[in-house]
């Protein structure tokens, strides 16, 4: 191991995951997850886009400055639920060796309910103290929804605060990066999409066939199985999300266990278990695509979601 590798390993070891604790409404630290892009199966195009626009400019700011590109900015991941947006965000933090501050729906809810002393500014302040730090706002639409549709003054104030913090990041802070993820980018306040805020919009699609095969392989690892043809199952589970595939495996495991209870001996998971389980389910991403296509067709003045229409056309999504 070279000195540089050792240093990187040491830094990685010291990294923290900061998360909101639902029990006592505070921010708690735990060991940082070790995911990097190498752990993300597939999504090559997405990873390439993130590297080009987010990671490489941070690692080589001078080089990118020569092309007029600035380091940093914020990244918005969108796509159907269960397709790995959260995992990808964690991997980004791993790639740039930064602390990872994860804001989930419950934390946002607590800010709305006003029962916690933590407010948005505290969270951003915590990130500034822990830099280099990636703030990952999951379910961004809950915090940054369109102000026009909000009835409560308090709700609008939170979006305003988020805008202030994002602008503050650019003006005052280096090495604090924000990644947002949402299933419903069309609900976001348009002000969030202005330059300097969430200006990189990245579509995270459902896994491709080879990725599905790999996911199935990972989910089945260590479980008794017999004569599985995962490539075939992968080809029959078009548009299934990672979460859908996990459910397929769970159902198949249950079938095998039912046989085990009947026969009294260990029964392996078979190809038929997986096929029957896959056949009994519909890809949950279909509902998302139906909504996304409507927004892309009727409401997409800036053509932000053209990529969704192109994807739907290419993959024959009806």
């Amino acid at each position: 191991m070279s000195d540089q590798d050792e240093l990187a390993a040491q830094r990685r070891k010291n990294m923290k995951l900061i998360q909101f604790s639902k029990d006592d409404q505070t921010l708690v630290e735990s060991d940082k997850p070790k995911e990097t892009f190498a752990d993300v199966a597939g999504l090559e195009e997405v990873k390439k886009k993130i590297r080009m626009n987010f990671i490489l400019p941070l690692q080589n700011p001078q080089l990118f400055a020569a092309y007029g590109k600035e380091a940093g900015g914020s990244l918005l991941l969108f796509g159907p639920p269960g397709c790995g947006k959260t995992f990808l965000a964690r991997a980004v933090a791993g790639e740039i060796e930064a602390n990872f501050l994860h804001i989930e729906l419950q934390a946002i809810l607590s800010m709305y309910a006003g029962q916690s002393e933590h407010n948005l500014h505290d969270i951003f302040q915590k990130a500034r103290e822990s830099k280099p730090c990636v703030i990952f706002i999951d379910e961004l639409d809950a915090m940054g929804g369109s102000r026009h549709q909000m009835r409560q003054h308090h709700d609008r104030m939170l979006v305003n605060q988020l805008l202030l913090e994002l602008d503050g990041l650019q003006a005052e802070n280096e090495n604090v990066f924000v990644i947002g993820a949402t299933n419903t980018p069309w609900y976001l306040d348009s002000a969030l999409r202005r330059p300097g805020r969430f200006n990189h919009l990245v579509f995270v699609p459902p896994p491709e066939e080879t990725e599905r095969e790999r996911i199935l392989e990972l989910k089945l690892a260590g479980k008794p199985a017999d004569g599985l043809n995962l490539a075939k199952i992968a080809s029959e589970t078009r548009l299934f999300s990672g979460a859908d595939l996990e459910q397929v495996v769970k159902d198949a495991v249950e079938s095998a266990m039912e046989r085990m209870l009947a026969s009294g001996q260990l029964e392996p998971i078979t190809n038929d278990d997986l096929r029957n389980s896959a056949k009994s389910r519909k890809a949950t991403t279909l509902e998302w695509f139906a909504t996304a296509k409507n927004y892309a067709t009727f409401s997409d003045v800036n053509r932000d979601y053209q990529i969704v229409l192109d994807y739907a056309k290419m993959h024959g999504v009806k």
Binding site: Q115, T297, F298
Partner: protein, 288 residues
């Protein structure tokens, strides 16, 4: 302390409804019920969430549960009236509406729903009365003004319709259903350009709503003068009572048999032809 926790769970559930995260809201509301199985507020909230999820039977069932505990629970009655209206069970709607109006006579939305149901029956004058009652309670509600503008257009007072249109749009230009009513009013006044503008704005705001989509596509069809010309008699017929429609068809058939056949054929061809052109314009060479 317990009350505070309950209050915060309730607020979280309401917040989730505002964000249209109905499944998560149901989970939160379920937590409220597990803390107190007799909580009528939680039941009414669950009913409201089912209403948003378009699960009307479930919504009605939960209002029954809430009303069995608190017979005059205002939110439960509100959800019940809306659920019957959406389910198009008009007999139950009218019965529950009367009771709900007795309990909460200052809820303007009840008068709006009453007006909407009367409009469906073609009783425009009575509908106008109901809307005026709603506006008396909440005079600056753009949706009510938009519906009134539509009713005035149907009743033939184009000037008043246009005045109400301007008033409604001044209060709020981003209300999908209000814009749809204003588009219908503009269409009834013969202003097809404004009809299309309003429908385009409505579909941008609520692109996932099938009714608004269909109305937008229809407003685009009205761009074609041949379609406008051929659909004119049909619109006139829609304003008549069923027996008047039957009689006029009978007379037309007796007097101009070949012409009626030619007209119907032309209408069908134009309708489908303009539909195809609009589809191509909006969706391109792909399916809807």
């Amino acid at each position: 302390m317990e009350d505070q926790a309950r209050e915060s769970t309730y607020r979280a559930a309401v917040q989730l409804v505002e964000w249209k995260r109905y499944k998560e809201a149901l989970t939160e509301a379920g937590r409220l019920l597990s803390q107190d199985p007799e909580d009528a507020d939680a039941m009414a909230l669950i009913a409201k969430i089912h209403l948003h999820l378009e699960q009307y039977e479930e919504a009605i069932r939960w209002t029954e549960e809430a009303l069995a505990r608190v017979p005059e629970h205002e939110q439960a009655w509100y959800v019940r009236v809306c659920a019957f209206y959406e389910k198009e069970d008009m007999a139950a709607f009218e019965k529950s509406l009367a009771e709900a109006m007795r309990i909460d006579p200052y809820e303007s939305f009840y008068y709006y729903l009453q007006a909407a149901s009367l409009t469906k029956k073609g009783k425009f004058k009575e509908a106008k009365e109901s809307l005026l009652a709603a506006l008396e309670i909440q005079p600056e509600t753009p949706l009510y003004l938009a519906v009134l503008s539509y009713l005035e257009a149907l009743l033939g007072d184009k000037e008043e319709s246009a005045r109400l249109d301007r008033q409604a749009i001044r209060y709020d230009a981003e209300m999908p259903y209000g814009l749809m009513y204003l588009a219908w009013a503009a269409r009834a006044r013969g202003d097809h350009k404004l009809d299309e503008t309003y429908m385009r704005s409505a579909v941008r705001l609520e692109p996932d709503n099938r009714q608004i989509q269909d109305e937008y596509l229809e407003s685009l069809q009205h761009r074609y003068w041949l379609f406008r010309m051929l659909s004119g008699p049909g619109k006139l017929l829609r304003r008549l009572k069923p027996w008047q429609i039957l009689l006029s068809w009978f007379v037309a058939w007796l007097l101009f048999k070949p012409l009626v056949v030619v007209f119907i054929l032309l209408y069908v061809i134009t309708n489908w032809g303009t539909k195809a052109l609009v589809h191509l314009r909006v969706f391109g060479w792909r399916r809807r």
